[in-house]
Symmetry: C2
Subunit: 141 residues, 2 copies
DNA sequence: AAGTATATAAGAATTATTCCAATTTCATTC
DNA sequence: GAATGAAATTGGAATAATTCTTATATACTT
């Protein structure tokens, strides 16, 4: 049983506006992984004068309340990797520190059959996300 | 046995300039995952008048020759995920399509001890990268 | 229904990155 | 070793994604 939009907005403690409602509907219907621009193009069908800002603000709002999330952390700036051997990353979600590691155990497990049907898998990347020791020390959490 | 800078640039078929040489040294020395700005700040110690453009151009050059790589594909625009359950992604490196999947087999394997020492791991994300069926059809490769 | 805090629209501002044109420099030839 | 021409650098303008600002409009409480 899914919450009604009214309850969702009530729980967030914000007003339910037509724009927000429509963005919510678009997102609920969407099985892809839209960029802000995709949402903007879609909602303009009904709200031709909506501003980009409203879309961005609403996406941030939804994200801060755990309704959606960004596909990647670290998206603000491009980061470069100087290690060209196959490896994975530990990423600190606070300070964005990245540490390389290898993990043969996980490289060997065959990919799920369904995924193989979606296309040709060429690479496997694992990201372990958490809080690094430095950041743990800083806040004690 | 590592190639000399001279050989590296020769292999790339480009001129060896002091700026490029210094950026190469900075990257070789660097165990972090620098953003362009980090490289810029570092090289300005020796080349105070270097332009951002040179840094970006050189990083692209190195990337196109396989000396370094970007930490993430998909970094151009923020993409949103409307599926808040734990899952992983198949990503088409051509069209950037993203498909969700779950993979219990891989979720259960304990993380390497060394990683646990680096911090508190809170989430595990796997990205299978390849070419989706649509893109395979288009080019026949 | 009125009042008020909150949300929106439009465009300016910001940030990361790329483009452009003028100048400089590398590396090859003489 | 100097001249030369192609390639590289600089500095600033341009672009693209995202955020901020301010005046106006609107949802929700009373």
């Amino acid at each position: 049983m899914r919450d009604s939009p009214k309850d969702i907005f009530k729980a967030m403690g914000v007003r339910m506006t037509p724009q927000r409602l429509e963005i919510l509907r678009i997102l609920e219907k969407c099985n892809e992984h839209p960029a802000a621009e995709d949402v903007y193009e879609k909602i303009r069908e009904r709200f031709p004068s909506i501003s980009f800002d409203t879309v961005y603000r609403t996406l941030s709002l939804f994200e801060s309340h755990g309704l959606i999330k960004k596909v990647h952390h670290l998206a603000e700036k491009t980061r470069y990797d100087t290690n060209m051997r196959h490896h994975h990353h530990f990423v600190c979600v606070r300070c964005k520190k990245i540490i390389d590691f290898t993990w043969e155990g996980i490289d060997k497990i065959p990919a799920p059959e369904k995924v193989k049907e979606w296309g040709k898998v060429e690479d496997r990347y694992v990201e372990l996300r958490g809080i690094c020791q430095d950041c743990l020390k800083k806040t004690g959490v």
